[in-house]
């Protein structure tokens, strides 16, 4: 029986347990006595007692079962395998596992065959023990909890406590994710800094990670500055495009646009926000890049098809809806009294907006810009396709650049070797990226929150 079938069986048993609990709770009342909770709660309680420990056991076996068997089998191996490296050992255990599941393995050794037999034996034994203990747990849970049902048992409170625990655990997943991100990044980045000193990484001006296969691993140069510079260049161009367009769109939409235009234009511009970034990247590569390069030829400057300008321009288009919807929210939160006051003094509408509404909304708008900047810095696919991957320090936006995100993708796709600085550097870069965006986000969120409180 595979795990899915086991889970389904447990669920069926739980349904039966629910029925048993339900009928039991109805049968214990009599003689004018009333149940504390509605009968369904007793059913749920019995089902939980029956099912939850059983499923927990199954999960534990799923996580540790294989390791236990592997450990027991590896104890059986002849002493010469003790000298194996971790990788050889892994291969060895895979061969045995393949033999045990009845597949053919080239040139099986005698000791491998006996180990495989042992593994097969342990696996079926383990499965039997698992099945037996799951059944015992289920029956025990069912019988004991069913026996405990009395009219004044507070079943609802028990069930609700279980629900609360489940809800709280769910909200812990978000925390765990952050912890996971921070720990894994820091851990792997530390491994990287054993090869390359942090000073060389953070202040190095050359990016030239040689390939680990060329024999001089660890000799490459991992200077962050060219990548950071490229990132900043592309994001600045993006913000130069997105901020004026986004802000003016937001102002026009919230202050001027007739409802008919608003109803059409708003969803259309929001469509821009839903388009996957890979599509923008492709758009940059086949439309904007050639267009800019042709434009450059016309005026006599050489613009490469894949350049900081191409990537930045398209990234700007991508974050227009982001800037405009955030600014729109913030502008509409400015109290009407401020507007009415300015209009009442004889200011025109544009004067009201520029001299009253915008200054009042400024902190919030700055927050929105910071969020947009953080999004631009973390954007990946557009720059992978359209920035040209040229990690050199230069100030010409018409030339190709490389960014932090592009380099993460380049270093970590292909072979996944967690022992070479060439792969590990991706985590150091990721950590840098995470810290930068986190900083921007925290500042932005604090500003926006403070702004909201000001007008509440």
């Amino acid at each position: 029986m595979n795990n899915l079938a086991l889970i389904v069986t447990v669920l069926i048993v739980m349904a039966v347990a629910y029925q048993l609990g339900l009928t039991r709770s109805k049968s214990v009342v009599g003689g004018g006595q009333r149940l504390h909770s509605r009968p369904g709660y007793y059913g749920i309680l019995v089902a939980l007692w029956c099912g939850v420990p059983t499923l927990l056991l199954l999960a534990l076996w799923g996580i540790f079962g294989n390791d236990i068997i592997q450990f027991l089998v590896s104890q059986q191996l002849p002493p010469e395998t003790a000298a194996f490296s971790e990788r050889e050992m892994l291969l060895q255990m895979r061969r045995i596992a393949a033999l045990a599941s009845g597949q053919n393995v080239s040139d099986p050794q005698q000791y491998e065959l006996s180990a495989a037999a042992q593994q097969a034996r342990l696996e079926s034994l383990g499965h039997l023990v698992l099945l037996a203990s799951m059944s015992v747990l289920a029956v025990l849970g069912l019988v004991l909890s069913r026996r405990k049902i009395t009219p004044d048992m507070r079943a609802r409170n028990h069930v609700e406590r279980v629900i609360m625990v489940a809800l709280a655990l769910s909200s812990g997943v978000a925390i765990l994710t952050t912890v996971g991100i921070v720990l894994s990044m820091i851990g792997e980045a530390m491994n990287f800094f054993r090869f390359i000193s942090p000073a060389d990484f953070f202040f190095g001006t050359t990016w030239n990670p040689r390939f680990s296969t060329s024999g001089d691993a660890g000799q490459g140069e991992f200077g962050l500055l060219p990548l950071l510079w490229g990132t900043l260049m592309v994001s600045s161009i993006a913000l130069l495009v997105a901020i004026p367009l986004g802000l003016m769109t937001a102002i026009y939409m919230s202050e001027y646009a007739p409802p008919s235009l608003r109803n059409v234009a708003k969803p259309v511009i929001e469509v821009l926000a839903g388009i996957p970034t890979i599509v923008y990247g492709f758009f940059a590569l086949i439309v904007i890049g050639p267009f800019l390069s042709g434009l450059g030829d016309l005026v006599g400057i050489s613009i490469r098809t894949t350049s900081a300008l191409t990537a930045g321009l398209v990234m700007g288009i991508m974050i227009i809806p982001f800037v405009s919807s955030l600014s729109d929210d913030i502008i509409t939160q400015v109290p009407k009294a401020l507007r009415d006051g300015a209009l009442g003094l004889g200011a025109t509408k544009s004067e009201t907006i520029r001299q009253v509404v915008l200054p009042a909304a400024l902190p919030g708008i700055v927050g929105a810009f910071l969020l947009a900047a953080s999004r631009a810095i973390g954007e990946t696919m557009i720059v992978v396709l359209a920035a040209g991957n040229n990690p050199v320090l230069h100030a010409n936006p018409f030339e190709a650049v490389s960014t932090i995100t592009v380099t993460i993708v380049n270093q970590l796709t292909g072979d996944m070797d967690f022992a070479s600085p060439q792969s590990l550097v991706a985590f150091a870069l990721g950590l840098t990226l995470f810290v930068i965006t986190l900083g921007l986000n925290v500042i932005a969120l604090v500003i926006v929150r403070r702004y909201r409180q000001q007008y509440e």
Binding site: A174, L261, T380, I408, V409, T413, N441, L445
Partner: protein, 452 residues
Amino acid sequence: MNTITQASRGERLAIIERSLASRHRQEKRFRRLGLAAVVTGMVLVLILFASILMRGLPAFWQATFYLDIHFDSDIVNVSERPIQQEGESNADFRERDFTWQSEVGRVNWQQLIDNALAEALGEEIEPQQTRDLRALVTSAERRTLRDRFIEDQSLLGETHTIKLLASANVDVWIKGNINRDLPDSQQQLSAQTREWADHLYEEGVITNAFSTALFLNTDSRSSLASAGLAGAFMGSLFMMLIVMLLSIPIGVASAIYLEEFAPKNRLTDLIEININNLAAVPSIVFGLLGAAIFIGYLRLPLSAPLVGGLVLTLMTLPTIIIATRAALRSIPNSIRQAALGMGASKVQTVFHHVLPLALPGILTGSILGVAQALGETAPLLLIGMNAFVSNIPATPFDQASALPVQIYLWQGNELRNFFEARTSAAIIVLLALMLSLNALAIWLRKKLETRW
């Protein structure tokens, strides 16, 4: 200012009049600037869609041969297909059948295609022209003939019109996606092949037929014309199932906890800030998390939709939590007070009264979150989903690609003339899926929305 106060009433009015004109011009200019920004945004959307559609739509039709293939019994010289004997075990029978199938596989199917092409051209093909001839039909179509024969052995000795895909270069040539005036040295096809292709196109042997290969085939390296999206589609489907199964229950549960039950203390404040921040963490960081924890530490398989689904789940979770909290917050307190007043417990209030009312908002937010996950590429590249996969994944543990990753792989293909259109077609498929999810969300919101 001073001049205004010192001036007489008439002069004052004149100054105001004059400045009023410029102020009104300014007003107009500002308003036009705003309109220009809106129009620019809309024009950009238009250009983006128009350029993708213009390039992608032609790729849904592909140069296709309708060839009269004669299943010549001299070439297709194989024994009878085995029939399961009485008392023969299934395994034995399958083994015998398998031997037969590999015998069929060794037949020179290419020869049948060559013969049919020669027939259609009405020419004797010199041996040195075989190369040119074989450049017409894409190489995977040999296997199409083989599969047709395995399905139906009565074809032997008969002639049937069979639909075969032209090679990618022929498709490019016929559609004019390559400059026809380029010298021979820069053309992908030899002069002879080009002449034949044009001839057959005029004859109607080659037509632009709707490309089912794009939807039914998996990616292919050797036979570019038959590369399709089926594998990537299944990979994306598995990932979306995992994302829905995990992120919606967990997201809704944690939103309920934070919004309805959590005590207001430092810990819940921390969780709240944390969720807002997670929503703004770049997606590639989630890819790094997946590479380090799921692949590096837990040793889950590379390129598996399972890992992709888990990474995208973590990425979507904050979106769903935030949307659900907003939906719960929009339910007026009077509902809660009424339920509590009738003696319901807090849990009953939330689950029997608040949650059902908030369901439309939760549903909309969840669909939008899933649509966003569907289009995500960067994190998937880091967990190895950019590997070339030639099978349709059968389970979430098999190697697979995903739609956006397939787009990434195709745009990098060296045969740009062919794959620019193919990639755009893949983008159209992806956008159609995402936009229909978005439309579904908007429709649900419109239909189920309650105004309080």
